[in-house]
Amino acid sequence: GPKVLQIPSHQIIDMGQMVTLNCDPVSNHLYFYWYKQILGQQMEFLVNFYNGKVMEKSKLFKDQFSVERPDGSYFTLKIQPTALEDSAVYFCASSLTENTLYFGAGTRLSVL
């Protein structure tokens, strides 16, 4: 099936530094999402991005978070500065329509 690629698979970073998580969505998809999952718990919605704009975000999408997809390349999630509680697995998803999501394998972020 369609593949969403996430790079890197694991990122270790010191608290306070900036980190950028990269997502290569399915090529013809129009909607892009980030989800956060702590320790195999529930998948928590962070943000949805469509047509170059954030369409909806949750309370977990703090001011330190930002997303963009410059020139149709990677869809990125930037955290600046990072905090200890940002440690989690971040999943990117993309979809052609609003409700059929395809997920990447996740990036495990460890903030030390």
Partner: protein, 108 residues
């Protein structure tokens, strides 16, 4: 508040048996997806339904938008079916919300 209520939170099955997982929605959803998260953490698409019933091998899923629920039936469970199963649903807007997951353990 929580829009997706998933049950049970944990389930143990012996090989060859079956059971059902359920998601209840507190608001009208346009479609539902079911995923399996395997031991490596990868999310595997199982079903996407806007209505009705779909079947794939030993799995069958139903979505009843009027009564606001969806089910995932597993029959003849195998060891490789172990993992966490999530439903996810959207209202037709931009936010797709996940249930809390069902941890399934299949034992010999």
């Amino acid at each position: 508040g929580d829009q997706v209520e998933q049950s049970p939170s944990a389930l143990s099955l012996h090989e060859g048996t079956g059971s059902a997982l359920r998601c209840n929605f507190t608001t009208t959803m346009r479609a539902v997806q079911w995923f399996q998260q395997n031991s490596r953490g990868s999310l595997i698409n199982l079903f996407y339904l806007a209505s009705g019933t779909k079947e794939n091998g030993r799995l069958k899923s139903t979505f009843n938008s009027k009564e606001s629920y969806s089910t995932l039936h597993i029959r003849d469970a195998q060891l490789e079916d172990s993992g966490t199963y999530f439903c996810a649903a959207g209202t037709g807007g931009y936010k797709v919300v996940f249930g809390s997951g069902t941890r399934l353990l299949v034992s010999p």
